[in-house]
Each structure stands twice: as structure tokens, then as C-alpha cells.
Symmetry: C2
Subunit: 696 residues, 2 copies
């Protein structure tokens, strides 16, 4: 028995162990039944462990049944076409109900009324403590500080504490699949077309929102101090932190309805892009604010150097995570390209899954943000790796992440409902809550309207007033705000924030989520737009509906010029990255200079010559929407090729396997693209107009 | 700050937290840097938590990269058709290499040489301890007893302990998907055809093997005592426990090769069925042995009442788990039948996944064995629910569990490799190891040969000598033996068992796994049998190869009579269960007595009349092998219908929607089946012969 004695660990799933941190094994049972026999001792421990294991199973089972119930009700709602309540709202309601039952329905089972034995130490809390019991040493780990009033009724809140998950679970288990799926299922064409606006809203908009909310809340906090409602410290940095976490808008609820109703593709892209990207921005922003530690004694006032350090942290973490995500995506693309892994779809899917997961871990290990890295990994995987996967794996990977995303999302939302009643340290402050509600609307307004005005100065296809109102309305708060808020609930300020965030999530998901359909029709936003048919001239569909004619063609010249950066990127991506990383794109032998010939033909996959068109077709299967490259390639060939059906041959002959043609290839490809049906309208003004019309 | 202070929990995935139980945060860092300022204290804790979080990420990343490497090498091996080393063996080798690096490659990083502070208590180890630090209370949880020699060099084995997972992870996270997949992907026709033999091998065979090995090992232990090699207690029950855990044979390695080579279907079914079922038996057997607690002082000698109690426990747990699994399957079938969930494949897949998972939790919560429940749940889901799923969900569910199973399996095997070097308490006892190797061969021989002899007395299609040798040879030990052995490594005996089990797994997977292909050809076992073409007369393919003619037809009369139980079940299943639980099978209106008319038409789905044949076709898509029912149905209609292509119409007219026909329907269906091409050979003797020819 001189080994490390491992008492059987509880946890139906080991994750549970952490999720339900307090497996408060019945102390008196142990201390009471102590026998001198080692065997008896073992037995007791085993029984105890069994009991707690069983309890954990029951707890998790509760969640699973909750989810099952949610799924069945979702089906019923979908079946009956009920739209006033989305599945996320539903999950929250069920969570609330179970929370109420757990809180008030179950009588406190008093297995023991004893206070656990305590021992004194002057050194202060250490992580590991040894307990010496007549020569035998036992190892204890720090769980946390315990409220002195809780010491004497540990068993009363036993049940409630059991269903309290470790906040890190949200960050490390539930969010990554949701965010990865968002990146992976991005509708690239609409996304890239509106990239400029999306980035503006996500970065500038979130920063504006964060600061507006932060400052307003600081006012509210000052007011509370005056009225005497504030009982503990609440710093300016806390307010800014609240501004950051509450600025993360939720892509789930509104967009699910948009998808169902086939609402306008550009509005969808704007909302989706904004809310996905601003999650990433909000995470990094909040950790930058935490990192804001001015030197000197007064640790919560403004300090320029600390501020710039925070900005540096923001840029560092964001770009680091971006690079991490993109790098893993590129590595996966290379591996899938240069091995014949696609002959074994199972291996391929497993590899894809592991590589995407490793992004998260890699970023966390390097001190970056895993969730952000996973987002960009998803986008990279969709853009490159996806083209190399076998047909079976494309479906498999898509469906795998869809299921994971669905389960994780509903879990988070039902947990949110549960948390309202089971979280132990809520601080409901009416003034703070009302102030926060006002602040988020003002913050959102300062984000959307001024930025839309600025963007419209540059955009050829203006973001109409009704779109702006819809974006204003669609600023729901959801999983990310919750996960950020629950991450640290140690201080008074953070507890108040958590409670307020929870209420904001409830309100926005139920009221705004439920109001999406009426709002869409009230704002006369076109629904029933088939995304596949929406491949006509950019934004044409809604312009016609709005009664505006196409914008002046003269503008496109300036557009084209200001888009030089993106154009450069596109050319580079199309001519070099796609051919190097995937089986699609033109063969490198035709795009690289002649002296790179051997390298080029080494890197170019045989399929690039042969299956060029075929693979592009694959690519478009998935997204229900044509890929950027595909759109170009396809239309280029339609314009060039003699017959529409001979696309394959045309592609083959166009980039036949000689290493001589170089330099002008990119220009040629571009020119061909400009002849295309899709770009017809735009190319009247200039032959070098780009399909991405949207930028600042 | 009067809340429960939750230090940021470590764990890239929360599961990790448990998997890597000792996040031995640097004690001196805390106790050294103690500042009076609360802010500073917070900071230190946060930095510490961050560091440990990063470390966890690195550890998990190591595993992920290990798996990635394994996948790439598997691909290379498959690509080059290397068969001497299976992927599981490969995963173990990589695990071994990383284990060696962790053990010997990394210098012990001595962040601190201090012993953690200790405190004394006379009461003995309690689960929760409070630490009073100048009025503030901190909560500590028991991690386990610690070896007194380990107290002073905690940091040295820090790294090694970090990569040691909680054993329960194997049971609760990794095994369920593996076992569920085994049940769900069962090739039903071959399985049911050999059901009698499979059950015999699994129950009787495992029991024999367990007792033979247990007794032999008791001899070995006595020998060790005599030689003076045994330094601690080793009871008879420990030997039996070892017999139980080491009797669990692994279905993975050999069968993967069988599948690849398309080896004989009946041999496949025998091996697969035996190894899957005997996993379940071994789990329950081992917990029954643990439950064997004779009353009185001498707790490790034979006691009849305790023995029968153990047998009762065995039967109780086994049947309870079976019922649990079947019940969840039935509920899922009913839900998928009576809702139109199949319009939303994502919801359907999610529900299927959750229900299957809840089986596990339900069984654990009720004190049964989750893994066993999951096996039977998988079989039930495949038999009933599968017929109700949409086409998309059938593929989705199959692929989802395939990926999970693949990842879990490779993870276990690479972890096994790792454990050889990183597990802290190995006890290598040459005598015990050699004895164990001998004992498992003898045990396996006592299982296979006598039982095959007995079974052959009853079987019409004998299990030939070469099949018996192959079964003897294919008794690899794998994931289940490992998981059972690692579950409890507290005592000297258990540690020795764990080490021995690990070595046995290595040896059998490498040597026997690698030797499967040569062995198959050496034993002249037919390979390249296309499972889809193998739907001819039962077992015909190998009988012809063996040069034996078909068995005497006179036997079939006796067969038929002794199969009455199974026949009853089949009729019941086909006439009542299938129609009630699925969209397939004959309408209940035609099978239930007339007075049940309203109930029957309420329970019968409209599809049962309409899509009867169509749904059966679905069913067969998945398994690469025709389903039992399908085979019957199909051939029945081929025999009855005027044209082969008109199966749909024939099916529809045969069971047209009247509620009048009752009573004799089952007989009719049976007779139709007997006319079938498949049963031609058998039906000469009698018109009521059953296709399941295999029983004791």
C-alpha cells in the first residue's frame, strides 16, 4: 500500500468531475465509519466513490434529458412552424424550469449536519496540502475560498453546487466546436464580398460599443455609489470589462431564422460576419482589459503606458491567434494534398478533426486565444483543405461539426437557464441592470449607425436604413457573453456583471429572437431569396426591391483602385496559395516564373491539370453557394469555352501542362473572370473591376 | 470576496482536469510570494493557473500529435499494403516512444525543492478539509494517500504524473463509443446465425477461462511465495479477478484485418460476437468478484453463500444492464417512429446520440454497468431505430460513431504504450508474467476446444479444426483488459496485475495481431469472400472449400425443434415488435387479433403499408450485408411476386390495409420465407425450418 492511493474518481464523464466541482463526499460517513482494518477503510471509500459517481450520472442524465426534451420540442415547433420562440430560447426555458425544481423543489437532504474538520495554518492558502494522520500522509488540493456562512450548511447547497459546471468547460469544450463550425460553414462569397464592412463593424464597432458601454456603466456605478446601492469596489476597468463581454453578439438565434426564411444574403453575411468576428474581438478585448495593469499604487486609473501595453496585448493575441489558426489550416491542407489520405475517408476525417482541435491547444499552449485560433482555422480549412478532401470526408466533416455545434449550443443555452437559479452568488442590482440595458442599446446604436454612415460613403451598394435597423435589432447576446461572464465570478463586481449578463441574454434572446420574423416583414426586408439563385449581380436583388437602380458605373474605377490590397491578395491566393495547398487552382507551372519550373511541377498535383474543374464542383456542393474561386473559374470558362459542357476540356487546355507561360497568367485569369456573366454589369466601366465591392 | 473563490481551473479540456489528476501547482511560488495585498494574491493565483493550463494544453497536444502521427503512418501502411503491424500496434509503439522520452528525455525541472506544508489531524482522512488562514476559510479536497518517500521530491515525478489519466476516463469516455459502435455495426445476419455459439463462448467460455487462469495464477502465486518473490498479500480472489480481466479479448485488431481481407463471414461473426460479448461478461464478472465478500474474519477464502451472492450479482448486473440498454433503444425507436423527426436529420442525429449516451448514464445511475448497457443499446438501435431514421441520419449516425470509435481506440492504444514508462507503480515479476502468459494460453485452449467440440455436437455446420485454431490464435487482449486493469491499481496485487496485463496486451497485439495474415493462409481459411455475395446457403462457401458436402437433411428436423425458443422470438419480433417500433414489418392490423383493431391501426405507421419494401432496402444499405428480416422479406417476395422488379407492389398487396387478416399471418410469413431461395436447401426436410441453424 505504499503507492499513491487513488480513490475511485467520480464523474460519469471525467469532464464532469470538473464540471461539478464539488463532489462533497459525505464527511461524517467517512469520519464516522473509520475502522482500524485497512480493508474496511477501502470499502468505505469505494462505496462513497460509487455514491458520488452515481450522483454525477444522475446530474448529467438530467442535462441529457433536458436536451432531449428540447430537441423534441424544437421538432414540434418546426413541424408546426412556430417562429416566435427559437430553439435557443426554448432551451433556456427548460433550463429555467429545471433550475427552479432544483432550487425549490428538492428538500435539502441533510446527510450530515457537521462542519468538515478544519485545521489552521499561518502560511496562507497553498495549492497542495498534506494531512498527517498518525504517520500516514494524505494529499489535498485547494478548491477555493469558502464563505464563512457556508461552512455550517454545506449540505444544503450541495445539490446546487453539484450542477455548477466549471466555467472553463464553456471555453474549452463547448465554444470551440461552435466557433469552428461558424468558420467552416461560412458562406464565402457573401462573406468576402462584404469583408470590409464586416471587419469595420467587428473591430471598430466592438471597440466603440465596449467604450460607450464601459463609460455609461461607469456613470451608473457612480450613481449607485451616490445612492448607496454599491456595497463593494467597482473600478473603471471593471466597467470596461463589462463593456467588452457584453459587446459580443450572438450569431445563433437570428441567423437560424434568417437561414430558415432565406432572408437577404448580404444582410445575412453582414450579421453573421460581424457577430462571429466580434466574438473573437470581444475575447481578446476582455483579456487585454484584464492585462491592463498600470504601474504604481493606484491600480485602476488611466495610465498611458499601460493603455498602450493593453493595445499591444490586443494586437499580439489577436494576430498570434490568427496566425496559429491559419498555420494549422495550411498544414492540414498540405498533409491532405501530398498524401493519398483521401482513399481512406475515415482516416482523413479523423486527421481533420485532430488537426483542428490541435489548433486550439496549440494556441492555448502558446498563450494565445484558442477560440479565436479555431475560428480562423475553420475559415482556412474551408478555403483550402476542403478542396483536398474526398467527397465522403467533405460531408462527414461538415456533419460531424454540425452535430457537435448543435449539441454544444443547446447545452450552453439550457445551462444558462439553469444558472439563473442554481448559481450561488447572484447580485441583482436594479439600477445596474436597467443601466446596462440602456447602455447596450446606446452602445449598439453608436456601433451600427455611425459606422454604416461611414461605410456607405465608400460602399457602392449602400447599407440601407432598414438593414441598419435590422442590424441594430439583431444584436442579441448569447453564449459568448455568458461564457466570458461566468469565467471569473470571484469579485463583487464580476458577480453583478454575471447576473446582469444573464438577464440581458434572456431578454434579448426571447424578445429580439422571437421578434425577428415580425421585424423582417415590418422592415420590408426580402425573404425567400434562394441563396443558390442569389448568384446574380451583387446585391441586385435587394436594390431592385428597394427601388434603387444600379449604382453609377463611374464609381467602379475608384473602387477598383482602392481595392488594390485585396486584389493583390486574391491574385496571390489564386495563383500561388490555392495551387500549392490544394488540388484546385491553376497549375503552378503556369503561374510561377520559368526558373521555378522544377519546384513548381513538384508542388503541383497531377489533379490540378486533370480534375481541375471537377474538384471545383466538389467545392461548391457544400456551401449551397458558390465559392469565390469557383464562381470566377466557372464563369470564366463559360465565357471562354466553346461549349458550356466542355468546361473540363477548356480548363485543361487553358492551363495545359507547360512550364513556359508565366508572369501574365494572373492577368489573363483576371481578364477571363471579367468577361463572366456574373461580372457583366460591373465590367462595363473597367475591365479590371473586382467582385469584392465592399470596403471602407 | 465572500464568495466561493474559484481559482481558474486548469484543463485544456475539462476532462483533462481529471485525466491529469495532479496539477501540482508550484507551492513555493504561492507561499513565497504571499503579499498582503489581495490583488497581488489574485495575480499570483492567476499566473499559476495560467501556467498549469498551458502545461495541460501541451500535454494534450502531445497526445493529439501522437494520434496524428499514427494516422499518417496508418495511411502509409495501408497505402503500401503493409500488414505485419496493425494500427493499434503502431499506436502502441508511438506511445512507447513518447513514454521513453517523457521518462528519460526530460530533465526533472526543479521549480521548488520544498515539501508542501502539512497539518495534523487525528480524525483520519476526510474528503473535505477546511483550512483556516487567519480567519479566512479555504476548502480542500482529498486527492489520495501519498507515499512518504514521494513527499520530498514531488516535482521530480510531476511531469510523469501529469500525463497519467484518471482510469475512469477509459471507462466513461473512451470505451462507450467503441462498444456502442461494435453493437451498432454488427453484421446481424451472420451474428444471429451463430448466436448460440457466440453466447456459449462468451458466457461459458469466459467463465471457464476466468477460472482456469485464476487457479493457475493462484498456483503461480503460491510458487512465488515459496521462492520468496512475493512481498505482499495476493489473495485467491485477486487471482480470479486477474482471470476475469485478462479473459476479455479484443475485437479490434484481428477483425480489422479480417474485414480488410474479407475473411470468412462465419468465422468473423464468431470472433466478433465472442469478443464483443465477452467484454461485457468480463466487466460484470470482475465486478462480481469484487463484490464477493464472505462474511466473517477470513475474507478471502471460499464461502458458499458469498459465492452465490456473487453469481446473483453477476446475473443481476448483466440482465439489468441488458434491459437498460434494450429499453433505451426501444424508447428511441418509438420516438423516431411517432414523431416526424426524420424531416430534420440534424435533430434526429442529435436525439439518437443523446439517447444512446443516456443509456450509459442511466445504467450507471442505477448501479448497472454502462458499457454493457451501451452494447445492447447499440444492437437495439441497429435492429429497430435504424429503420425509422431518415436516409441522411443513417449515414450520419454511422459515420459519427465510426469517427468517435476510431479516435477513442487509437487513443487507448497509444496511451497503453505511454503507460509502460509513465505509470509510477509498475511491479515486474518475471515468474508472475511468465505464469500469466502460460495461463492465458491454457485458459483460451480450455475455452475454445472443449466448447467447440460440444457445439459441434449440435451444430449442423461444424466449427472446423482450422477455425478453432484461428479462434485460439485470435484471442488478443486489448483495450478492455487494460481499462479493467488500470481501474484500480491501489494494492500490490493490482499493480502486479496491471503491469502483466500491459505486457500481455503488447505481446498479443504485436505478435498475434501481426501474425493474423500469415496464420489465415497457413490454416487455409478462405479470404476474399465478398460479404455481399456470401448471402448464399448458410456456410456453404467454406464447406465447399473444406471439401465437405452439405450436412444430412434429417438433422434439420431436430434443429428446428430445439430452435423453438428462437423461433418464438423471431415470430414475436417480426409480427409485433418490428411493426410497433419501426416503420417496417407487416402492418399490425394484419398480425394482431381482430379485437385489437383500433389499437393496431393506431400503432401501425402509414409507411408500413406504403413504403414497406422501400424501407427494407434502406436497412440493407448500411450493413453491407443483408439484415435478417430483409433477407427473409426479400426472398419471400422474390418467390411470391410475379416479377423480381415488382417487389414493392407485391409487398403492398400481400399486406394490404385491411384489419381482418389475423392469427395465421405469422405462419404465412414464415411459410413464404421457407419458399425462399436462401432456405431452399433446408426446407426440403421440413417446411418449418429456421434460418438460424446454430445453437447448442
Amino acid at each position: 500500500m505504499d503507492a499513491v492511493r487513488q480513490p475511485k474518481r467520480s464523474g460519469a464523464f471525467a469532464a464532469l468531475d470538473t464540471m461539478m466541482p464539488v463532489v462533497w463526499i459525505f464527511v461524517s460517513a467517512v469520519s464516522g465509519l473509520k475502522a482500524e482494518d485497512g480493508g474496511m477503510e477501502e470499502l468505505t471509500t469505494e462505496k462513497e466513490a460509487e455514491e458520488s459517481h452515481r450522483q454525477d450520472s444522475v446530474n448529467l442524465l438530467t442535462f441529457i434529458l433536458l436536451l432531449t426534451l428540447t430537441i423534441l420540442t424544437i421538432w414540434l415547433f418546426k413541424h408546426r412552424r412556430v417562429r416566435f420562440l427559437h430553439e435557443t430560447g426554448l432551451a433556456m426555458i427548460y433550463g429555467l424550469l429545471v433550475g427552479v425544481i432544483l432550487r425549490y423543489g428538492i428538500p435539502a437532504t441533510s446527510y450530515h449536519n457537521k462542519t468538515p474538520p478544519s485545521c489552521s495554518l499561518k502560511e496562507g492558502p497553498v495549492s497542495t496540502l498534506l494531512l498527517n494522520v498518525s504517520g500516514k500522509f494524505f494529499e489535498y488540493t485547494l478548491k477555493g475560498e469558502i464563505n464563512s456562512r457556508e461552512i455550517h450548511n454545506v449540505e444544503q447547497n450541495d445539490m446546487l453546487r453539484k450542477v455548477t459546471f466549471d466555467p472553463e468547460v464553456f471555453f474549452n469544450i463547448l465554444l470551440p466546436p461552435i466557433i469552428f463550425h461558424a468558420g467552416y460553414s461560412l458562406k464565402k462569397r457573401h462573406f468576402f464580398r462584404n469583408l470590409g464592412s464586416i471587419i469595420t463593424y467587428a473591430f471598430l464597432g466592438t471597440a466603440i460599443s465596449c467604450f460607450v458601454i464601459g463609460n455609461l456603466m461607469y456613470g451608473v456605478v457612480k450613481l449607485m455609489q451616490v445612492v448607496g446601492q454599491l456595497t463593494d469596489k467597482f473600478y473603471y476597468t471593471d466597467c470596461l470589462f463589462f463593456g467588452a463581454i457584453i459587446s459580443a453578439t450572438d450569431p445563433v438565434t437570428v441567423l437560424a431564422i434568417f437561414n430558415e426564411l432565406h432572408a437577404d444574403g448580404d444582410l445575412y453575411a453582414l450579421l453573421f460576419g460581424e457577430s462571429v468576428m466580434n466574438d473573437a474581438v470581444a475575447i481578446v478585448l476582455s483579456s487585454s482589459i484584464v492585462a491592463y495593469q498600470p504601474s504604481g499604487a493606484n491600480t485602476h486609473m488611466f495610465d498611458a503606458s499601460a493603455f498602450f501595453k493593453s493595445v499591444g496585448v490586443f494586437l499580439g493575441i489577436f494576430s498570434g491567434s490568427f496566425v496559429m489558426g491559419a498555420a494549422t489550416g495550411v498544414v492540414t491542407a498540405l498533409v491532405t494534398k501530398f498524401t493519398k489520405l483521401h482513399c481512406f475517408p475515415l482516416l482523413e476525417t479523423a486527421l481533420f478533426f485532430l488537426m483542428s482541435w490541435s489548433t486550439f491547444l496549440l494556441a492555448e499552449a502558446c498563450g494565445f486565444t484558442g477560440v479565436v485560433a479555431v475560428l480562423f482555422c475553420g475559415i482556412t480549412q474551408a478555403h483550402y483543405t476542403y478542396n483536398n478532401l474526398s467527397a465522403e470526408s467533405t460531408i462527414r466533416t461538415k456533419q460531424l461539426f454540425e452535430v457537435l455545434h448543435f449539441l454544444a449550443e443547446n447545452f450552453i443555452f439550457s445551462y444558462m437557464g439553469l444558472a439563473l437559479f442554481t448559481f450561488q452568488n447572484h447580485i441583482f442590482s436594479p439600477i445596474f441592470i436597467i443601466g446596462a440595458f440602456l447602455a447596450i442599446f446606446i452602445g449598439r446604436a453608436f456601433n451600427i449607425y455611425p459606422l454604416s454612415f461611414l461605410l456607405n460613403l465608400g460602399r457602392r451598394h449602400k447599407i440601407k436604413g432598414n438593414f441598419q435597423h435590422m442590424m441594430m435589432f439583431a444584436g442579441l447576446r448569447g453564449a459568448m457573453a455568458f461564457a466570458l461572464a461566468i469565467r471569473d465570478t470571484a469579485t463583487y463586481a464580476r458577480q453583478m456583471m454575471f447576473t446582469t449578463t444573464l438577464l440581458i441574454v434572456f431578454f434579448t434572446v426571447w424578445v429580439f429572437g422571437g421578434g425577428t420574423t415580425p421585424m423582417l416583414s415590418w422592415l420590408h426586408i426580402s425573404v425567400g431569396v434562394d441563396p443558390d439563385q442569389d448568384a446574380g449581380p451583387c446585391g441586385d436583388s435587394f436594390q431592385v426591391l428597394q427601388g434603387d437602380g444600379p449604382q453609377a458605373e463611374g464609381q467602379s474605377k475608384t473602387k477598383q483602385e482602392s481595392a488594390w490590397l485585396f486584389r493583390l491578395w486574391y491574385t496571390f491566393d489564386h495563383n500561388y496559395l490555392k495551387p500549392i495547398l490544394t488540388h484546385s487552382g491553376p497549375p503552378l507551372t503556369s503561374t510561377l516564373p520559368a526558373y521555378c519550373g522544377p519546384l513548381a511541377s513538384c508542388l503541383t498535383s497531377p489533379q490540378a491539370y486533370e480534375n481541375h474543374e471537377q474538384l471545383r464542383d466538389h467545392d461548391s456542393d457544400f456551401r449551397n453557394d458558390s465559392d469565390l474561386t469557383f464562381t470566377f473559374g466557372d464563369t470564366a470558362i463559360t465565357a471562354n469555352g466553346a461549349s458550356g459542357g466542355g468546361a473540363d476540356a477548356a480548363g485543361g487546355s487553358g492551363w495545359s501542362a507547360n512550364g513556359k507561360r508565366s508572369g501574365s497568367t494572373s492577368e489573363e485569369a483576371l481578364e477571363r473572370e471579367l468577361d463572366s456573366r456574373e461580372q457583366e454589369l460591373l465590367s462595363r466601366g473597367t475591365r479590371l473591376v473586382f467582385p469584392i465591392e465592399d470596403h471602407i
